[in-house]
Symmetry: C2
Subunit: 319 residues, 2 copies
Amino acid sequence: MAVIENAVAGTPKPVETAEAIDTIRDFNRFYTRQFGLLNQRFLGSPFTLTEVRVLYELARRTTSTATEIAGELSLDPGYLSRLLSKLERQHHLNRGRGEHDARQRPLSLTEGGIRLFKKLDQASSEAVASLIEGLSPAQVSELLAAMSTVRRRLSPVTAQADYHLRALRVGDIGWIIHRQGVLYAEEYGWDATYEALVAEILAHFVRHFDPNTENAWVAEQGGAVVGSIFLVRESGRIAKLRLLYVEPSARGLGIGRRLVRECIASAREKGYETLTLWTNDVLASARHIYQAEGFRLVKEERHHSFGRDLLGQNWELRL
Amino acid sequence: MAVIENAVAGTPKPVETAEAIDTIRDFNRFYTRQFGLLNQRFLGSPFTLTEVRVLYELARRTTSTATEIAGELSLDPGYLSRLLSKLERQHHLNRGRGEHDARQRPLSLTEGGIRLFKKLDQASSEAVASLIEGLSPAQVSELLAAMSTVRRRLSPVTAQADYHLRALRVGDIGWIIHRQGVLYAEEYGWDATYEALVAEILAHFVRHFDPNTENAWVAEQGGAVVGSIFLVRESGRIAKLRLLYVEPSARGLGIGRRLVRECIASAREKGYETLTLWTNDVLASARHIYQAEGFRLVKEERHHSFGRDLLGQNWELRL
DNA sequence: GCAGTTAGTTGACTTAGTCAACTAAATGGG
DNA sequence: CCCATTTAGTTGACTAAGTCAACTAACTGC
């Protein structure tokens, strides 16, 4: 068995939709069972889950009306009225009269109601704490990151979080090497020698980095790296644009073009005359960007690399 | 601003426990609201969630008893009896008589019951499909991986999934570079040049790999990389043990020692006389492993690397 | 001034269970 | 073999958590 397998590590392979659906439903059953226990007659208190939700909503606001609470929690107004009356009888709630609309009964928790709320809040926090107490800080962080991912992927798609560009940080080049290795294996079948090439380029970049003549940009979105590009000195007159990549999940947003433009602007700023780059013909999206930004094809050459027969292309831009 | 920041990318920093608890509860509220809709009077059907759960349980088994179902779903036996009677009246359920225990009523779905179950199963799958239809395959994979992480971290800690060792795969070296970069920055404050060194070593390893004289092992646990080690040829008589690392979350399980032993065994098998390694004195756990396996300290030398003053150590093992 | 709408309340009811007593069958000790 | 105890399942009575609709008082806009 070869020591370097062609299977891809890290990100799991895209799976069949049916399989994904089954996995999500199975997770849902697990999660509902796990947290369902937290939602029963609330954690040993004499209050039902609905009552606790009402308390939470009242605690979140300084003052509110029954209509607001009913709307927020999708509750029957008659039912809510009874719940509020119970809280009032127990001296947890103040019900006023609207200044400008006598129909309204402005609601606010009493001191006792605030104390009750804090007690229930504490119990809930302790319940969660007991779930994670066996986890190391790193595992808790991993859990939170995973929850953030679940939430981001299951939330209604509004405007995706804007991306921004930032400088390189520790950990970035390993991640970029990893993602390029995985993505080009998945998308084009390139083997581990491509990953090794990327590693070599980036190792050299970091070890010989000169901020007067070189630069790097990382695109970040929702705290995750979604793309990158590097400006590398070739000579006093010539710079190279290297290793443009954009995550598939973030394509179509103009990130690639933005990265290329930043690179070009920086090359100009640093006084280069020519910006060159080497790519392969299969990287069609990148090529379109290069062409659009004025790069010209100066040389093509067939080669066998990364386990494949490829057509390498050299492009140049006069600055 | 330097182009390479000292902030660490990738894994979020460990957070305060209180903050983690709040985040988890917030996620819980989000999740319950999102999937709570799926659990209401079941997806437009005339069945309640409890009835559907009973159907699922009956469908999972060829035959079962009321006591089994009640136990599995934590249902009141009297209530279950009524639910089963309803299903029987609707010709979805067969209720037999126990062969060896006449008290028992063996239960099995009728043809109609199986059709009903499949219909509900289909509706549930369609509901989930509609949640993820806007996601790309990569995003679905990311979601599934995140759910797997949430589940793994929130499941009761039984015996942690055993780890196993495997060969390198595409994507591994980038990941290892990334993790070493991040971990040594967090634990020892080493800067990006350490990450670059690791990248260079691994790039060279992959590009000049000779399976007759070199080897690599990746420790994997629950589908995640949790450690690795490399055997590299120095000369015909001398090999090097390089880049031993174990994830903090997986330490204490003997993974490091296991990796070192595999490396030593392989070095012997390939006919080397000496196995050498270079480490730094701050890596105490690793040093203890090396000493325990018979390595001897042959040289120490102060140096300034990775942004720090360090004491390098060369160790050797006669094979 | 008044018809229509809204905020909130209350009465009657439905639904989803819970609790306990019951019958029939099985088990095990004397 | 007898009998006390336990178990599988059923049924009656009840509770709890809501739903539905009619109601009162107050507001709005023509």
